[in-house]
Amino acid sequence: MVGGIYFATQKVEYVWRWYRVPQYFYYKDTVETRAEIEGEVASLTPRGDQVEVLVRGEDEEELYQVPAEAVMVGEGDFVYPGDVLGSYQKWKVGILLQGLWLTLKVSVLAVFLGIIIGLFTGLARISKNPALRWTAITYIELVRGSPLLVQIFIWYFVLGTMFNTLMAKQGMGQLSPLWYGVAALAVFAGAYVAEIVRAGIQSIHRGQMEAARSLGMNYPQSMRHIILPQAFRRILPPLAGQFISLIKDSSLLGIIAVRELTKATREVVTTSLQPFELWFICALLYLVLTFALSMFVQYLERRTAISG
């Protein structure tokens, strides 16, 4: 298949330029220090690996910090505003790596919140209290019944606008789109996690709960010490699947101006005109994240397996 794709790209005369890709991960940026006033370079004072350049004009003076090896002026030189005093190159994180980082951050936050929401909703779902149970059922059905894309829109354009306007009226700061994105993903994942948790708890034999209760443990104690630890091991595989979905779903957050990996890739594609390489790279980076998660869950499964 790889050969086929390569052959086809040759036919449409696509020029592969893989060498252009690394710059979107890390690139060398030129940093220049420029004079802001007109005058003479009065002194160069070394301080550590920096040099202090003092520029003295008619009735003002300015001090600039420049790395020692980057200094481009000497004592007595006359400089005008905008003249380069020193220039050096610095490695900077490229947009793709920034996008990857943001995707990771959003996913980790959403997974954590999703687990918490899912755990409590799952417990509420099997509660004897009808109010709790029906609240949980309503939440699960609402969230599972509408597209994630629509939910993200509602979180950002409806709830977000409302909340940010209210905050502004109170004279408080705004919440960035990132947080609405995280909320949308967490609430979405929470509904699925809740059903996974419920199934996990219900798969534990009734006798385990009875034995715990007959020893005088109350319901929360029995849940915490007996049921949940056993359920946890069983729900790990479906939970891993759910969170892999979540990582991939985070690609939708680009539409509310969160510059995660997919949005970053789209931006790079428009500037570089190298869509083939970049979209492959984008997919590969998602694979790195999801594969790492799979490995982590497998490790957890081994660790929590009953030994002996």
């Binding site: 034999h205 006798g207 385990q208 009875e210 034995a211 715990a212 209760r213 007959s214 020893l215 005088g216 443990m217 109350n218 104690q221 010490h225 007996i226 630890p229 056993q230 091991r233 009953i306 030994s307 002996g308």
Partner: protein
């Protein structure tokens, strides 16, 4: 010690089942009471009502003078004083034998880990399997699991022990080891309520035998009376079928 007064319990599953109908009985301190009867006679239900694993619909159940059907009663406190042994053992599958014995001690009785472990070890010794302290339930035989389960219940220092067909799920050659543990307990003066089909155990150990059928207590008596000279026809029929 344990007293049930006019207890009713009805299950509504596919059809209405009257599991307990106007059941009254009394179990004195230190007594060993064996409840027997055909399957579906309500004997397990009665036992489970005694520690509220099933909630009786009507009537009163007093444990040490406390009415457990009173909504104000903290059932968890009552249950700490009552050990329960199940037909299917119900050992905590994610804990070792030692873990099974120490968990409720530390969580409910608030004992220190060291204290709980010493107690657990002593009890494992008592039921004859101290070498299995580190084993998980899956790696124990049925008889060993049930002995661990008895030890687990005893670890809470209960005043009453309830046994719900403790040997019914066991291979025949393992029944003896579990019954031996129960006999030791009975000799030590533990108050015991035992639902079982082991007539030998009933004859040998019981102070009192309760025969149930169709949710009602048909006959109550000493083993001698019960096995040699039962007064009800239903009891005679049952005994003729199983002996």
């Amino acid at each position: 010690m344990v007293k049930a007064e006019n207890v009713y319990k009805t299950f509504y599953t596919t059809h209405k089942v009257e599991a307990l109908v106007d059941v009254s009985c009394q179990i004195d301190k230190g007594a060993v009471v064996v409840i027997i009867g055909p399957s579906g006679s309500g004997k397990s239900t009665l036992l489970r009502c005694l520690n509220m694993l099933e909630k009786a619909d009507k009537g009163h159940i007093y444990i040490d003078g406390v009415d457990i059907l009173d909504p104000k009663t903290n059932i968890n406190e009552v249950r700490t004083e009552m050990g329960m042994v199940f037909q299917s053992f119900n050992l905590f599958a994610h804990k070792t034998a030692m873990g099974n014995l120490t968990l409720a001690q530390t969580v409910v009785r608030k004992r220190s880990k060291k204290e709980a472990e010493e107690k657990a070890m002593a009890l494992l010794q008592k039921v004859g399997i101290p070498e299995k302290a580190g084993s998980y339930p899956d790696n124990l035989s049925g008889g060993q699991q049930q002995r661990v389960a008895i030890a687990r219940a005893l670890a809470m220092d209960p005043k009453v022990m309830l046994f719900d067909e403790p040997t019914s799920a066991l291979d025949p050659e393992m029944i003896g080891e579990v019954l031996d543990v129960m006999k030791t307990l009975a000799r030590e003066g533990m108050t015991m309520v035992v639902v079982t089909h082991e007539m030998g155990f009933a004859r040998e150990v019981a102070d009192q035998v309760i025969f149930m059928d169709e949710g009602k207590i048909v006959e109550v008596g000493t083993p001698e009376h019960f096995f040699q000279d039962p007064s009800h026809d239903r009891t005679k029929l049952f005994l003729s079928q199983i002996l």
